[in-house]
Symmetry: C2
Subunit: 383 residues, 2 copies
């Protein structure tokens, strides 16, 4: 859902953390989940939202090249990599500067009306919550997603004993995404002290303290959590696997009769599985299909009206192989051969079966499982 | 590590929650993780600690039979099932009553000096932190494990806008286990209001409010988190799998020469893997071995001095099959045949190889992988 009214929106993703809570040498945003770095999932989540203009990823100096490689490898678009500071706030401030200060960037990016701040280690944000937060920021100047507290929060006294516990219902965990009118958050960062920049963590706090802007709080969904510990990487991996198995891409060529099937099939599948239906030839230049493949779709149904469409299937297999999708899980590729002629002019012969069987044996070695399906039916003419 | 000084300790595990945050009909404590309900892991974590006398599991009336079945199936000991109330505090209070009120239980359990309160949905608690919390409770009257906050905590105003954010460093998340001098927490529950019982969640708060006891806060480890959402179940499953693959049981029979190997092997393995070494015959009556098997150990090394120890291996396979361990992952069973005679009196023949191969083929169908290893060496006599 696009935010109501004309509003220009860009996003800043701080990705400079060292991930010390995770244990291990790799900062968590660069840890591979299903073969793909976590930061790439977060970038993709933003990138999928068409009304976000620029995505600024802020990384520490030593990771700039790594980040650029990731952007190239996964074909991310609209992304600018910016060098971060030594703390979270300093990194976000650097990210904002590319919209405001000429000397900071080789090309000054268009200053957005609203800027989203999200985290590189929150891979599962959906358009709906981003849109809600942006709309609230447009109205209130600042907004952020919140979640109920999982544990009671307590204050300790100097002696390491309980001072008091907070009443859980009155408090919330501040999560991401957050969004701000650009001028407000930029003003807040310009005014805030070194102490804020070095020890603070909460952008909503800066907007309140320096611009008297009380952020609107938006109840978020359960998937907004931040990957902090190793167990969170495990969880992220399982969620991604779950999502993969529940997604199918239906490919049909331009012909009218096939396009109709390509429309009806997704309609009947969509209650059980997330379906992306496209009507293209699986040629190498189709960017939409490329995006679906790099989005790690593992199930394809190709509908065609040829007796044996090995060539088209071969093209898709080539695309899968040439994409950077790690084939950790079997890709299922169902080739549906529709015989929609009035006289059922073709019938499948031993030769065709042998051809597709042989082809399937070869692709199986690459972890791609090919199935063939022939459907014959008579087109009934209206009387 | 046993708490210093003589102290009698029992534990109460509230397991009455409905798990509404998880989504799905099964309360999370009864959700299967690697084929075993979550509550069974938490019970086992307590049960493994030898100095905990009684473990009270408090469940809602409709789950009493389920809980009793779990206790029987997984061979839990020292566990008493108690009917819970409609809230967490009421359930914990019910759990405490079995130590104090004759009319509440068919047999009054021995009142402990210190009572641990833990959660059924926290499967990974280690003896070390439990011991620390118990010792702190003995000294201070109350104690609880804490963790740093993952997200900033904020207070919202009535209009749904940010009122203020808390300085993260000053606050902590209150986790479990907690422990109390029994008389203090029981007194607190007896005095507290219906409002506390219905809307409160924090036992440390009750001890402070009604007994003026400022609980000692003990920094906990990362594994203390509570299974709350579906992603936490995923994480728990991955952690359990990780633990399984990193555990091996070395079994040797009583003979001196073998026992020596049984000592040296674990010593050299223990840097890479968690080793439990036992010196027994894998007969059906050995409760230690039974415990290891029901603890879902998936790797065994059996050291013996026979030419072909199929019978002993068979006994272990029988135990594995008869245990309730779900054989979801291959069990690896390495049979080491030590030839420690001075003249290398036996050599392995085709017949022996055939026998063990055939045996291995059969067990493989049951997801148990048997390997045989023959080691010959000469005992050097001192001159």
């Amino acid at each position: 859902m696009e935010p109501r009214g004309p509003v220009s929106v860009s996003a800043v993703l701080p990705a400079g953390g060292s991930g010390e809570r995770l244990g291990g040498a790799t900062p968590k945003q660069f840890c591979a989940v299903q073969g793909r770095p976590l930061v790439s999932y977060a970038v993709r989540a933003m990138e999928r939202i068409s009304w976000i203009s620029d995505i600024i990823v802020v990384v520490s100096p030593e990771n700039i090249e790594t980040m650029k490689t990731i952007i190239e490898k996964y074909g991310h678009r609209r992304v600018t990599v910016v060098e971060g500071g030594i703390t979270r706030h300093r990194s976000i401030f650097n990210g904002l500067k590319v919209f405001a200060e000429k000397e900071f960037s080789s090309h000054l990016l268009q200053k957005p009306e609203v800027v989203i701040i999200h985290d590189a280690v929150r891979p599962f944000v959906e358009e709906d919550i981003v849109s809600k937060v942006v709309m609230a920021a447009k109205e209130h100047g600042a907004a952020g997603a919140i979640r109920p507290l999982v544990s009671t929060v307590i204050a300790s006294a100097a002696d390491g004993c309980l001072d008091h516990s907070l009443e859980r219902a009155r408090y919330r965990a501040s999560e991401m995404p957050q969004a701000f009118l650009f001028d407000i958050i930029y003003e807040a960062y310009q005014q805030c002290t070194d102490y804020d920049l070095d020890y603070g963590t909460e952008c909503l706090h800066l907007a309140l303290k320096y611009c008297k802007t009380n952020a609107k709080l938006v109840e978020g969904t359960t998937d907004l959590w931040k990957v902090t510990y190793k167990r969170d990487l495990y969880a992220a991996e399982s969620i991604i696997k779950d999502n993969l198995s529940q997604r199918v891409c239906v490919i049909t060529k331009g012909k009218e009769s096939l396009a109709q099937v390509g429309f009806l099939l997704p309609e009947s599948l969509k209650n059980q599985i997330k379906v992306e239906a496209i009507s293209v030839s699986p040629s190498k230049n189709d960017s939409h299909l490329q995006n679906i493949i790099s989005g790690q779709c593992y199930n394809f149904v190709c509908v065609n009206d040829k007796r044996c469409a090995i060539q088209e299937i071969q093209e898709l297999v080539d695309m899968l192989e040439k994409s950077n999708t790690p084939l950790l899980y079997p890709v299922v590729l169902i080739s549906v051969h529709l015989d929609i002629s009035e006289n059922n002019s073709f019938s499948i012969g031993m030769e065709d079966i042998t051809t597709i069987k042989k082809f399937a044996r070869e692709t199986k070695k690459k972890n791609i499982l090919v199935y063939g399906l022939l459907i014959q039916y008579k087109v009934q003419s209206m009387i």
